[in-house]
């Protein structure tokens, strides 16, 4: 039966050679190489559940009176968009499951990409010839942040509406052109007209998923064409020879199994763990707000930066050159992106002077400066991220929020340097330990060979 299928397929498409190549394609076998796959499967779940949600969503901001099953909002003014999502969550049978799975998938998608980036960065996989793959991946990451933001803002609930206002504040804070940019996107000053929601909707369900899809195809294509990088775990792996598991039969069941497990975890969360209970937040109005409003986790670094900034606008005469939100909301993420994008070039120009071709990966200890700098930048972003929710921590532990913010303003600069230096030293020590281990083994071998020679 297998042969019959293949015969039919090959006669019509002529791709048996290609299929055979794919079947015996070699995957270097390390668990951290699977993180990108996890992200890919999250994307698949996002597209499928998202399609389902789109079939129920109304992108209109027209105000109507709510008369649905959720009593605490009965008779209140809500937008049609909010009403459609509320309806999906309370009346459509699997609506809430699909919505929650979709939202969990978005959170996990970005987390997986981030972990994948961490692996790529600290093993030097972005080096020649994979710079393009790396840049495409970074684009996917940053575009996904926007995609997630748009997705939960479409609901027009109190929490996400506040988030949109802040997004507007950041957009118009861009020097010179910010105001114009803001009114272009929102179709006027905030809250804009109803076409703004149409724009978010089309961007979220069509333009950006299409872009991400194409980028992923390019990304995976490049990985396949150049073959995956590998760790040097023994004598067999070299820059010229790849050692790994073929797609078929070895890798296929595991990858498909990973896909199933990822999907399963997302649906389990979607059913068992409540996420974004929009009926509790209520609808958004520009004149309402709630305490404890936070963006989704992957934008936590931005709220931290916005909260940490001391209060000043950079003013020249009557012109506000740099309104305050620009630093934390726009410049900060740009700096992080610029660091990530430029790192392959900075590293080879100023640190390693290594313009060579690399298929073998470094262990973090093999590149102490890269690891130290990477850890430093990561801790910088992580501390700013933490600063974004210390008010909640202070509620629990009775610490002064204002004092904590003052401490963190200094800590976010000092601690990364210390951590980076420590990481650098740890790498150097580990590498020296490895070298000592290698020398010891060689000496042992030699000693053994000598005794064997003498005894014979």
């Amino acid at each position: 039966m297998i042969r019959k299928t293949l015969k039919v397929l090959d006669q019509r498409t002529g791709d048996a050679p290609l299929l055979r190549k794919i079947a015996r394609y070699v995957f270097p076998d390390h668990w951290s190489f699977l993180l990108g796959e996890v992200a890919l499967y999250c994307f698949v779940v996002l597209v499928l559940t998202g399609t389902y949600l789109a079939l129920f969503y109304t992108d209109s901001t027209r105000q109507i009176t709510y008369h649905g099953p959720y009593k605490p909002l009965d008779g209140q003014k809500v937008s049609e968009a909010y009403n459609s999502v509320l309806n999906l969550s309370t009346t459509v049978r699997v609506g809430l499951l699909m919505r929650q799975t979709h939202h969990w998938a978005a959170d996990v998608f970005v987390a997986a990409i981030f972990l994948h980036l961490v692996r790529v960065f600290f093993t030097g996989a972005y080096r020649k010839p994979r710079e393009l793959t790396y840049l495409i991946g970074l684009t996917v990451l940053f575009v996904s942040l926007l995609e997630g933001y748009l997705g939960y803002s479409l609901v027009d609930d109190l929490l996400s509406g506040m988030g949109l206002a802040i997004g507007y504040g950041v957009a118009i804070s861009i020097p010179f052109i910010g105001g114009n940019l803001g009114e272009l996107i929102w179709h006027g000053p905030f809250p804009g007209t109803d076409v703004f929601f149409s724009r978010m909707y089309i961007a979220h369900v069509f333009l950006i998923p299409g872009l991400i899809g194409m980028l992923l195809v390019a990304h995976l294509g490049l990985v396949a064409m150049k073959h995956h990088t590998q760790f040097k775990q023994g004598p067999r792996e070299t820059e010229r020879k790849i050692v790994g598991v073929p797609t078929f039969p070895g890798q296929a069941p595991r990858s498909v199994g990973l896909m199933f497990v990822t999907t399963g975890v997302l649906f389990l969360l979607g059913g068992l763990a409540q996420i974004n209970p929009i009926w509790l937040w209520g609808p958004y109005h520009t004149y309402l707000s709630t305490n404890g409003a936070q963006p989704d986790w992957y934008l936590g670094w931005l709220i931290g930066a916005l909260r940490l900034m001391p209060g000043f606008d950079v003013v020249i005469g009557n012109y506000t050159l740099v309104p305050n939100p620009f630093w934390g909301g726009a410049l900060f993420p740009l700096v992080v992106l610029a660091f990530l994008v430029s790192w392959p070039y900075v590293e080879r120009r100023f640190i390693t002077h290594d313009y060579g071709y690399h298929n073998l990966l470094d262990r973090p200890r093999d590149a102490p400066l890269r690891t130290g700098i990477g850890v430093g930048v990561f801790i910088w972003v992580a501390l700013i991220f933490v600063a974004g929710s210390v008010d909640r921590v202070n509620v629990f532990f009775d610490l002064s929020y204002t004092a904590t913010i003052d401490v963190m303003r200094v800590a976010v600069w000092v601690v990364p340097i210390v951590c980076g230096a420590i990481a650098y030293r740890v790498c150097v020590e580990l590498a020296q330990g490895d070298e000592a281990e290698r020398r010891r083994k060689r000496a042992e071998h030699r000693a053994k060979a000598m005794t064997e020679l003498e005894s014979s």
Binding site: R199, G264, Y287, N291
Partner: protein, 331 residues
């Protein structure tokens, strides 16, 4: 009758039989792996459980209409189905299907011959051109210009140059202050230690320039600069409810019960905790706001209703390049 019996027997054999494919004798591509019935049974059991869990999903959908925690049961059945099937596949991958480690060459770093052939073909194509540079430049120019033309319709998404709208608010001299349902505020409604939200009568409540927060302070607590000294009406002050940092609504009011050892009155924004002093014109006490809170001058009409005595002293909402350029309109 015997056909049905045959069918049942075949089904039984299929499910329970220990049939293994008889492969012809030849050199193997995939290395041999000894059978592991224990793990095989585990995988089969996992697949079976996955199937049951998956079937539970449409069953629950059909008959579980009034089940409490419906979403949880649906998610559990579907999620477990996937996880169990995945677990079975992982077991198969690790224990049943051989994991070979094979070697292969990495593809060549580059293909200099093909590069050369391609470059040659392009060069030879352009041989017939008399002035190649002009040709290429004019072509590039045409394509570039078409690109500019293609991008132009995006400007219609705008306005892009309608910044003057940022300065306009629905407030003007004489406009009454009303609550969310349109009921006008009387000065006597506004009590100390409380805060109220007001809108311009007849205006769109969602506009950033609309909502104001009203508080009444004792006369002795005011510390207003001279240009704002006439803004309060009988101790009642009004400020834009939209934070000048990033645009959230300022819905927190710190109203101390006992002044000597409690923080002073303040309007606070819940987003990044920008804190504004209502007694001195809305100056920033803490937080990232770079601009004071815009203040609305008030007056009380003959019948005791609160009315605006003009527009805000500054533009409302988050700052942009020109926010300090002029005052809100209409004046």
């Amino acid at each position: 009758m015997s056909k049905a019996r045959d069918l049942f027997v075949s089904l039984g054999v299929l499910l329970a039989g220990r049939g293994r494919a008889k492969l012809p004798e030849r050199e193997r591509i995939v290395p041999e792996k000894p059978p592991r019935p224990g793990w095989e049974a585990t995988a089969v059991v996992l697949f079976g459980l996955a199937a049951l869990s998956a079937l539970a999903f449409p069953f629950l959908y059909a008959f579980g209409r009034h089940l409490s925690h419906e979403t949880q049961w649906l998610g559990l059945s579907l999620g477990l189905a996937f996880v169990l099937a995945g677990a079975g596949l992982v077991v198969a991958g690790r224990q049943l299907i051989v994991t070979e480690e094979i070697e292969e060459d990495y593809p060549p770093e580059e293909h200099p011959e093909e590069q050369e052939l391609l470059a040659q073909a392009i060069e030879e194509t352009g041989d017939s051109l008399v002035s190649r540079r002009l040709f290429v430049l004019s072509l590039a120019g045409a394509v570039g210009a078409i690109g500019v033309a293609a991008v132009t319709p995006l400007v219609s998404l705008g306005p892009v140059f309608g910044i003057s709208k940022f300065f306009s608010t629905p407030w003007r001299r004489g406009r009454r202050l009303v609550d969310e349902s349109g009921r006008p505020w009387k000065a006597s409604d506004i009590e100390e230690e409380d805060f109220y939200t007001a809108f311009p009568e007849g205006a769109d409540e969602e506009e950033l320039g609309s909502p104001v927060v009203l508080v009444r302070l004792p006369q002795s607590s005011f510390d207003l600069p001279p240009e704002l000294a006439h803004y309060p009406a009988n101790g009642i002050v009004a400020y834009s409810k939209i934070c000048t940092h990033a645009g959230c609504a300022i819905s927190l009011y710190r109203a101390p019960l006992f002044q000597p050892d409690e923080p002073k009155p303040a309007l606070v924004c819940p987003c990044h905790y920008s804190t504004f002093n209502p007694a001195d014109g809305g100056s920033v006490q803490f937080g990232p706001a770079g601009r004071k809170l815009p203040m609305l001058p008030l007056e009380i009409d003959r019948r005791g209703y609160l009315r605006a005595a003009g527009n805000f002293d500054e533009a409302v909402g988050p700052s942009w390049w020109g926010v300090r350029n002029r005052k809100p309109s209409p004046a």
